[in-house]
Every structure is written in structure tokens, then in C-alpha cells.
């Protein structure tokens, strides 16, 4: 198990050091500094073995977090724990910075004592931790409160405390997707996938039992068989599909996995506040919001002519935002002249690219840019590798076609019903790695 946990600043000075196991000595602190933080080479692996001691590290801005062990630990668990530790710290005092760590070192020690016992991770849900580890000192608790805390920390629903009350029961659902594409110059899709997240922010009283439904193909098909009259059929452009095939999904620990496995229904008691309810991945029938059509012509040895057309492919009533097209230029570019009909385009010599920005663009439109690139003659025999044209954007729909069908809330003990809860749903599709080779 984890033998010790150290936090360093960028210089390699120790900010926090907590040793859990006897086999880890103080010299381990120095070994990591010398061999990893001060190493001349770039870090070649997040796991380092120095003199039979293994170091796992993650970096957050300038801060290094390192977990140390001499045993054959579960490596995935150690990294998950380090990420969790970062989340917990962020939830307590905001950004992980040297100053924040120094100012909160007592708190951090207290947290480390609680969430890692003899190197075994314990309950690390901030919701539960905040009930008894506070920055303001412990309030004197009544006996009931104490046992409530302990049963919550150890209980089945460790992520939520009892007795939460809101005057207005409200919840927000964000479907956030990033669409990834690699396209050949001829417009053939080489690979495309959507990785999406459903983020839920809930302000609900009591211990609400929630049920989340979406247009998952397996569920819809099952219901179709049951006699419902769902007509199958697709209407492209904007994602009006009836159902989508999800390749794989993972859930927050509040979701009852065995129930999902058996019935494919997503039921849970949510943590208070924000949580990432699920992650998913789809590869079929993705709506690609934009198509990029590149045309690169080499005129002699000192000139390139580039023409790029982008076409938006969604409902005309929707607007895409923050569109940015990045057209790489050769290293020996001496000058660029750009003409574009929409937006602004600039040649950025330091990035070796023409960056074309458009604030907004409606669906089913197209726009074009053309550029003349002057090249310096070189005797470099190596051909220009022609990196792909990449694109960034944000669209107000889910490129996978995912739709939230319902999110039902039941709280039998308190007197509010599903209808009283105010629910908000929002879809945001962003570009992941969206590239077209030219």
C-alpha cells in the first residue's frame, strides 16, 4: 500500500510530507527530488523506481504530488487516489498552489490522516469530509450529530449527508460532449468518436432517489418490443435521432451499477452540489458539425496556394460559436496574404500557422478562406510534413445525438414531488481533436 505521500513545489522543496509505513525513510523525499524533479531529462514515466522504492507522481501547475511505496501496490488505485487528493484539496481551498498549500498545511495533514489510513484510501468524498473536517475548527457536536457523521462516512451513501434542506429544489444537467475527428483530404472519415459527460448540479432536499433516462438504443429497443409505438427513423441535421448506440459508459460511484447491468436503468442518490454523473463514448452516427475542405497547391518551389472551405452541418436555427481554424504553414514561410469572407484571419509566425477566427456561424452555411504563402528557398531536402488542419468550435447540441428523456426525483420522506423540482438541461458540443489532413 501507499507508504508515504509528499508534496513539493517546483524547486523540489517539500511542502507536505506524511509517512504511513515504516519502510519509507526520510531519504525517499530526497531521492524523488534528485531523480525526478531535478532530473535533466524530460519525465519519461509517471512511475519511477529508485533503489527498490517506487514513486508515483502527478503534477498540478507547479506542484508535484508523489506517492511512495516499497510494495506491489495497485498502481491504478494510487493514481486515482492522487487525483482524488487534488479534487479534495481544490474543494477545500481552491487552486492547488504553493501559497495555498503553505497556508492550509494543517488542514492538509488532517485530510491526509483521514483519507489515507496505513496507506489504504478511506472515504474521500468531499461532501462527507466537510461535515467533520472544517477549516473553522470543530463545532461541539451533539451525540446524534456525531453518530450521523460516522454512519455517513462509513455508510452506503458516503457521498451525501442527511438533513440537507433547500427552499427551492432545483437541478441542472449539462450534457458536455467533445467530438473528435480525423478526416482524409478527400473527405473520408478516418476516425471519429464522441466522448461525453453528463454533469449534474443538484440542490435537492433530503435523500432524493433519482432516475435518469436518455435515448439509449438498448433501452428504447427494449421498450419498443414491449408494445410502445416508437417509430424508428432518423432526421439528420441537429440530432433528431430517436436513439443512439453507446459504446461504453462509466458512472459516478453513486449510481447502482448492478441495476444498470441488469436493467440498464440509471438510478442513484446524488451527492449534494456538482458531480459528474456519467461518462460515455459513441462512435456511430455522429453528427459532424463542420466539414473542412482543404486545397493546397504548390506553385513552384517558393509559393503555396491554400484554399480552405468550411461547411456547417446542423439546423439553420442553431448557432455555432468560437470557431477557429488553424492552417499550418511550412517552417520556411516568409510572407502570407490572406483573404477571407467571414471572420478574421492572421498569420502567426511563432506558431507556424494561419489562424482564422469566426465568432458565430449558423447551420447549413459555408465560408471560405484563401491564402498565398511565400516560401524562402531552402536546400533542405526534407519535405514539409503537411500537418493536419485543426478546428475548434462550440455548438449548442450533442453531436452524438444523445437526448435526456427524463430525470425523475423521488423523496418519500419529504413532501415535495417530482413536479416541484425545477430542472434545467443544456447541451454543449465542443471540438476535441478535430483534424483534416491536407
Amino acid at each position: 500500500m501507499i507508504g508515504g505521500l509528499f508534496i513539493y513545489n517546483h524547486k523540489g522543496e517539500v511542502l507536505i510530507s506524511r509517512v504511513y509505513r515504516d519502510d519509507i525513510g526520510r531519504n525517499a523525499v530526497d531521492a524523488f527530488r534528485v531523480n525526478v524533479i531535478h532530473a535533466r531529462q524530460q519525465v519519461r514515466s509517471p512511475v519511477t523506481n529508485i533503489a527498490r522504492t517506487s514513486f508515483f507522481h502527478v503534477k498540478r501547475s507547479n506542484i508535484w504530488l508523489a506517492a511512495v511505496t516499497k510494495q506491489n501496490v495497485n498502481a491504478a488505485m494510487v493514481f486515482e487516489f492522487l487525483y482524488k487528493m487534488c479534487d479534495v484539496m481544490t474543494a477545500y481551498f481552491g487552486k492547488i498552489s504553493e501559497e495555498n498549500i503553505k497556508n492550509n498545511f494543517v488542514l492538509i495533514y488532517e485530510l491526509l490522516d483521514e483519507i489515507l489510513d496505513f496507506g489504504y484510501p478511506q472515504n474521500s468524498e468531499t461532501g462527507a469530509l466537510k461535515t467533520f473536517i472544517t477549516q473553522t475548527g470543530i463545532k461541539s457536536q451533539s451525540k446524534e450529530e456525531q453518530s450521523q457523521i460516522t454512519s455517513q462516512v462509513t455508510g452506503q451513501i458516503g457521498w451525501r449527508r442527511e438533513g440537507i434542506k433547500y427552499r427551492r429544489n432545483e437541478l441542472f444537467l449539462d450534457v458536455l460532449e467533445s467530438v473528435n475527428l480525423l478526416m482524409s483530404p478527400q473527405g473520408q472519415v478516418l476516425s471519429a468518436h464522441v466522448s461525453g459527460r453528463v454533469v449534474m448540479k443538484s440542490y435537492l432536499s433530503g435523500m432524493p432517489e433519482c432516475k435518469f433516462g436518455m435515448n439509449d438504443k438498448i433501452v428504447i429497443d427494449k421498450q419498443g418490443k414491449g408494445g410502445a409505438t416508437d417509430e424508428a427513423g432518423k432526421s439528420g441535421g441537429g440530432g433528431g435521432k430517436q436513439s443512439i448506440a453507446i459504446d461504453d459508459c462509466t458512472f459516478h460511484q453513486c449510481v447502482r451499477l448492478s441495476k444498470f447491468d441488469a436493467e440498464r436503468s440509471i438510478s442513484f442518490i446524488p451527492p449534494d452540489g456538482e458531480c459528474e454523473l456519467m461518462r460515455y463514448r459513441t462512435t456511430k452516427d455522429i453528427i459532424l458539425p463542420f466539414r473542412v475542405i482543404p486545397l493546397v497547391r504548390e506553385v513552384g518551389r517558393t509559393k503555396l496556394e491554400v484554399k480552405v472551405v468550411i461547411k456547417s452541418n446542423f439546423k439553420p436555427s442553431l448557432l455555432a460559436q468560437k470557431i477557429e481554424v488553424r492552417i499550418p504553414t511550412p517552417l520556411n514561410t516568409s510572407g502570407v496574404q490572406v483573404i477571407c469572407m467571414k471572420g478574421k484571419a492572421k498569420y502567426k509566425a511563432s506558431e507556424n500557422a494561419i489562424v482564422w477566427k469566426i465568432k458565430r456561424m449558423a447551420g447549413m452555411k459555408e465560408s471560405q478562406i484563401s491564402a498565398e504563402i511565400e516560401l524562402l528557398p531552402t536546400n533542405d531536402k526534407k519535405k514539409w510534413a503537411r500537418p493536419p488542419i485543426s478546428m475548434n468550435f462550440e455548438v449548442p447540441f450533442a453531436p452524438s445525438g444523445l437526448k435526456v428523456r427524463y430525470l425523475k426525483v423521488f423523496e418519500p420522506k419529504l413532501n415535495y414531488s417530482d413536479h416541484d423540482v425545477i430542472k434545467w438541461v443544456r447541451y454543449i458540443g465542443r471540438s476535441g481533436i478535430y483534424e483534416t489532413r491536407c
Partner: protein, 940 residues
Amino acid sequence: MLCFHVCAGEIFELKAELNSDKKEKKKEAVKKVIASMTVGKDVSALFPDVVNCMQTDNLELKKLVYLYLMNYAKSQPDMAIMAVNTFVKDCEDPNPLIRALAVRTMGCIRVDKITEYLCEPLRKCLKDEDPYVRKTAAVCVAKLHDINAQLVEDQGFLDTLKDLISDSNPMVVANAVAALSEIAESHPNSNLLDLNPQSINKLLTALNECTEWGQIFILDCLANYAPRDDRESQSICERVTPRLSHANSAVVLSAVKVLMKFMEMLPKDLDYYGTLLKKLAPPLVTLLSAEPELQYVALRNINLIVQKRPEILKHEMKVFFVKYNDPIYVKLEKLDIMIRLASQANIAQVLAELKEYATEVDVDFVRKAVRAIGRCAIKVEQSAERCVSTLLDLIQTKVNYVVQEAIVVIKDIFRKYPNKYESVIATLCENLDSLDEPEARAAMIWIVGEYAERIDNADELLESFLEGFHDESTQVQLQLLTAIVKLFLKKPTETQELVQQVLSLATQDSDNPDLRDRGYIYWRLLSTDPVAAKEVVLAEKPLISEETDLIEPTLLEELICHIGTLASVYHKPPSAFVEGSRGVMHKRLPARTGSGESTESPDVGTIAGGSGTETAPSIIPSQGDLLGDLLNLDLAPPTTTGPPPPTSGMQMGGMDLLGGGLDSLVGSPMPPRHLGGDIGGSAAMGAGFGAVPAVMPASLNAPMGGGLGDLFDLGGGVGMPLGAYIPPKTVWLPAMKAKGLEISGTFARRAGVIQMELTLTNKAMSVMTDFAIQFNRNSFGLAPAGPLQVLSPLSPNQTIEVSLPLSTVGPVMKMEPLNNLQVAVKNNIDVFYFSCQYPISMLFVEDGKMERQVFLATWKDIPNENESQFQIKDCHLNSDAASNKLQASNIFTIAKRTVEGQDMLYMSIKLSNGIWVLAELRVQTGNPNYTVRKERIRIT
């Protein structure tokens, strides 16, 4: 605000604040103490003052004091006792948080006296009404076991812990499982976890309810269970599969481990088997969208899974395509998996990707990509042509390291598909001049030698390499030797001079025994039987296999049982990097059992089921085995072509070598096996070597024994015409003892300078730098004449040869034995000590020839007690040869006379410290035993 420096004044100030009446001031003071502790300052002087603050109802202050105690109690055991009362009292506190805190902290104080007091509170806490206290107490049992295992057993805590597996609270169950698993690891045979269908059922129920971490503990524990039959196996799998959708990657990987293991038991024709295979792919792919560090762990594991069950991910090639922004460690791993998944169906895509990668910036990555193209060619025959043309395109880029890497892989392609792509040789030859890496040079030379008959100017090409023969690395020298011999056998008329030249370079001017030995063998082969030479040297080579870098099957099986853990990241069994008894137990995949069989014969069932924790043959290998195991492991580099790395000290009988081992030795582009010193086997072999001008390297035993007494053992071997005798290198400092640094070495005397020749090998996983060396005082005042010249850092698996000149002017102290030398070597990791013995012969100076008159006079003056006499057995040299040979080691013959068929040789030796040794060597013709009388004087 916070203070990070502690000086005496400050300690005093803190002391005052700690004893303050004001609570706030006290707390601030303790905070300052903890801050100093964090940065490594010693604040143990404040122990009594801090302990005094323990009695408080302020929980925050209490926690700080406990933190201090955990750090310093061990260094102040007597004072730690002061804290016991408070602990015991806190364990009875009405607040469960304080009870838990007390028992948690007490377990971390590793002081024997305290552990005695811990037992009673712990017993109570294990049965506490509050689950928070119970879950803390469960872990505390593991802590106590780590301090005093016997105590835990005597007090019956293990049984209480076992009871907690049936606890109503899932977190208590999870912690109890974790604690028991850890304790069980140090008692491989104890059957502590006692896994049976009932307890497994409890665990599977708790799995649905506990925290993500608890799920990991339980899944890791489940993986050690051996189901009775395939039905039980299937039902466990069914209950574990939902975990594949967990957001925590560690839960997913641990579930994958359980499934991969239990799947072994399912019959392949079962529908469920196919379903399970399908269910495994998506979660593995999803792991690749995690943070990069986790991706790395996942990829290392996928690498294993792909080798074990390629069918799972065979359609998922695309997800392993490298992204521009991936960290380098992710890129390299993805590349590895891409090659493993490459097949005829997807090879076009893979090649297109690899070609893209070959134009990236990171040198390591580009090299690996180029190498990957070669491996594709070897793996998928249909693609070979495309691969070769891609490689040729890359060679055209003229990027130096790309060209070199391409040539290395093309050599392998030639070996896989002989007589198919030799048309490209011309293109390769164009790049001859730009090759500066040994591997690439060696590959190119091999190609030239192998296809000498098709290359018109092969002799010129090889001759060009010959000029700087001694500056080349061993690999290149050996390859050049073989290539020229091949060339000679193919075109004997034009190349006679060339072959003479290379043979004499290899046999006469080289200090490398591998090279010399190979040279001698060729020489003899060519001079005795050219036809046989042709058969041997130009024999048909075995084709190289498709996948040479696969993990060895038994290791792979073991690693599959360790999915998710460090072992799976390092691709090494835990015993290779875990100290002590933990993790030594080898795990094994369960065997497939027919369901009918086990129900019909209950015996089989009980054995399989009852063995629970001991599915593996729970043998703790002896120290020696372990060591061997380790060394093997560290030695094996991921080579692309099969030959084992040169292993020094491999003993091979002479005859055996010529019989079977030779073809593999000479015909192929392998690094040679080290022939060791025993090549000749005996002098009888040497006698048969009449045709060879030089004599075989001798079967000399290193004169490492006593002091001057066996000096003359030197003469015992057969002659070596050039230079003094140099004993073969021996391992002085094994890697086990020096945190991965292995040192072997020998001593030599060259041109009047004593050299310590060292081979440093880094078998650790981190780079070593800052080498330095020092000697203890010794009998002859040996001392390093310069610093240890290790200029570049020594990266893992790298070996470096260093020659350290020695002087004899250092401080003197008589050692036992006389020629013992104690050495300290330092690097960035630590300082290591070892001792070695040098052959006295290296102390013989060149001006040791005594005037005849002086010799005669001194001989008489030496008192009898200074005389000793011994015999050298089995020496087949005549007196002249012996004399010549001894002269090479600075033992000079002053006079010779023959009495009654005996040759008497009178000799003198001068040691570096001015001591003269005079000797009489009696050689009887026909009698292989020499008699030596020798005497010693000191000339001041």
C-alpha cells in the same frame, strides 16, 4: 508567517509558547512545530512540551499533537510512554471520532512498550458499536501485525478480524479484507482469508455497497480465490462485470483482473465466454480517455492482455493511434500495442500511421516508429513489400537516426525473407558514411558480408571499416571479422590479404577475449579445412521468428494475476522489486476444470477449493534462486532478434563449442557468447593447434589465492605471447548489494602502469551519475591515480567499461590476505563497499632484471627461513617457452643451467615497493610438474 528555520533561540521561544496558558497561542505553536517537522528540521527537543498539549478537548490541536507523536515517538520511546494514558483514555471517549483517532494514531507509534498498552483498547474498538471506529480498528490490526506479528496472533486479533468480514457495514468489511489480505501475504500458507463460497458471497454483496476504494480491496482479494468449478467461476464473473462501468479506473482494472483470471476456467464453447470477451473491450478502451498517468498504467496492462487474449481488442486498433499531445510515455506504449495488434486486416492503416510518426520530433519515439515498421514487415508477410518501400522512403529523408534505425530493421527483414529484397542493398550502401551508431554499423557490415557476392566493391567497403578497427565497439569488430571471413569464403582470390589483416588485428592486437577467440577459431578453421569452414560460416541461418519480444508465458500468466498493480506496470514479478517476504509468492492462473469431473469426484473439488490462497505453488525460493531470478530479469533487454546477451563466464568445453555451438556463433549476426577462459579446456587442445601460429588462450586459473606463495602459478598455464597475464573479470559487487549497480573487474599491467579495469552495469531503473572511487589503505599502497572516468550518466541496463590507472604511492597497511583491496564506489544513490584481490603479478615492475653477479651474491645471502618451495602441476611447456611467457609478466630469467636432464632457471622479480624476489624454477623434461624454490629479500 510560517517559520521554516529552527535555531536554538527559536526552540526556546516555541517551548515558551507551547507552555502558554492561552489555547490559541498553544495551537499556533504546535502548528509551527509541525511546519518545521515537514521540512525536515529536528524539533524532537520539544517532545515533552508537545505531549503536554495532548490533554485537550480541542480536536484540531489533538490531531496536531498526534501527528507530532507519530513522527518522533520512535526516537524517544521513553517519553512516548507519557502519552499512553491519554491514548487509553481517548479510546473510551464518548465521541466516536476521538475513539477512532486514538486507535488510529496509537497503531502508528512503533514503540514496543506502547504496543503492549494498545492491545486492550484495540480489542474494545474492534467490537465498538460505531462502524467508524470498527473500520479504523480493522486497519490497526494490520499496523500492529507489522510491528509485532506474534502479538497479533497471540491476542487472537486475527479471528476478530475474520469476524469483521461478516460485519453489517460495507466499509468495515472492506477494511477487514484489506488488512487480512496484507497479513496473509506474509503468511503464504496460513489460509488466513479462508475464502469459501459463503465468504465470497458476502464479499460480492459488500462489493455493491462500499466505497470505490473498498471495491478495489475486495476485487483484489477476490482475484486470489480459486473457484471450485466453472459454474461458480461464471457466477462470480456475472456479479463482477457491473464494476466495468465504474468511473474509477482502478475498480475497472481490478474487475478486469478477476475476469481475466476466472475466464481461464470457463469452457471456450460456452456462450457466456464469448459474451464476457465482448464485454471486456469497451471498458479497456474507455480507460484511454483517463488522465495520462492512468492511461499509462492502463496501456501497460493492455499490453499484457493483448498478449494473453489478442481476440479482445483485435478490432480496436484505431484507439491506440497516437495523439499529438500525448505525453511521450503514453506514445511509446501505444506504439507497442499497435504492433501487437497489427494484422493483415489493418496493416495499411497501421503503416500509414507509423509513417506519420516517423516524422515527429521526439527521437526515441521516431526510432521506435521506424523499428515498428520493420516489425510489421516481419509479422505480416503481405505487408513486407510496402514496409520495405516505406523504410526506403524514410532513408531518403537522410535524417541520421532514422536512416540508422531503418538499416537495423532492414537487416531483420532480410533474415526473415531471404532473397527477396536484396535489390535495395545499393540504396543502403549509399548511407554507409553517415552511420555512427554501433548497432547500425554492425547491421550494415552484416548485410555487406552476407551478400558479398552481389556487391562488387564489398572488399573496399569492408576495408574502409578496417582502418579504425580498434576504435570500433565490440559489436562492430565481431561483425566485421565475420563479414570479412564470409567475403573471403565467397571471393577467396581477391581478399586473402584482407582476411589476414583482420585475423591478425583480432587475435594479436585486441584485448577482448571474445574477439580473440572468434578470431582464433576462424583462423584455425580456414587453415585446416576450408570446406568445413564454408559449411560452418556460410551455413543457412534459421529464420527469425515473428514476435520475439513477447513476454515469456509463465511470466505472462503471473503478470495477468497482478493486473493493475506495479508488477503489471514494470512487467516484472513482484519478487523482482519487493523486498522481504512480501510478494514472493508466485501467482498462477487457475486451470480449466470440467464441471462434471469436479462434482463427481469430491476429492478434486476440495483440493481445488480448499487451497484458496495457495493456488500458486507456495514455495518461497531460496535466496540463491531469487538472486538468479532477479539477475535474469534485469538482464533481459527487449531485443528484436533473439540471441541472448553476452553472458560473461559462460563455461563451455572446447569440443562442445566446436561441435554444436559454432554455427550459431559464426554464421549469424549475433553477439558472441563469451567463451570464457576455459576454451581450450586443457593444454592437450593447445598441442593440437600446431597450424595456428599463436597458442590458444590459456586455461589459467586466476592467481587470486594467497600472497606470494602461489605467485608462480602463473607459469602453470600455456603460453601467451603478448603482454602480461590478465585474469578474466569477476563480479566484485553484485547488483543486489548495491541498489542495482553491478561492478565486475580485473587488474592489468599495461606499459608499466597498473590498471584497474572495471565494468559498471546499471541494473536499477534509474539513471546513475556522479561516480567516484576510493581505496582503503592496503599492503602495496595502491591508490587511484586519477578520478573514475564515467563521463555520461549511466542509464538503466547500460554497461560501461572503465580503466582506472593506479599508483603505488598511497598509504600502506598490511592486509590479510596480502593482496586484498578494499574499495568504495560512490554514485548519486549511495556509497558501496566491496573488497577484491589483485594478482600480485601486476606489481612486478619492468626493471626487475637483476645483474648476474648481484643475483649470485644475494642468492647466497638470503637466510633459509625466507625460502619456500612448491610445485606447479601439469604444465606442458619446455623451459624456454616458460621463460618467455614469464618474461611477459616481468619475471626475468637471469641464468639457466641443465643438471641431470633438469633445466634450472634462475629468475628475478621486483615488486613495486622495492622488494626483490629471486626464484629457481626446475623443469624436468617429460615431467609436467615444475618445482619452484623462491626467496625474498628487501633492498633498501
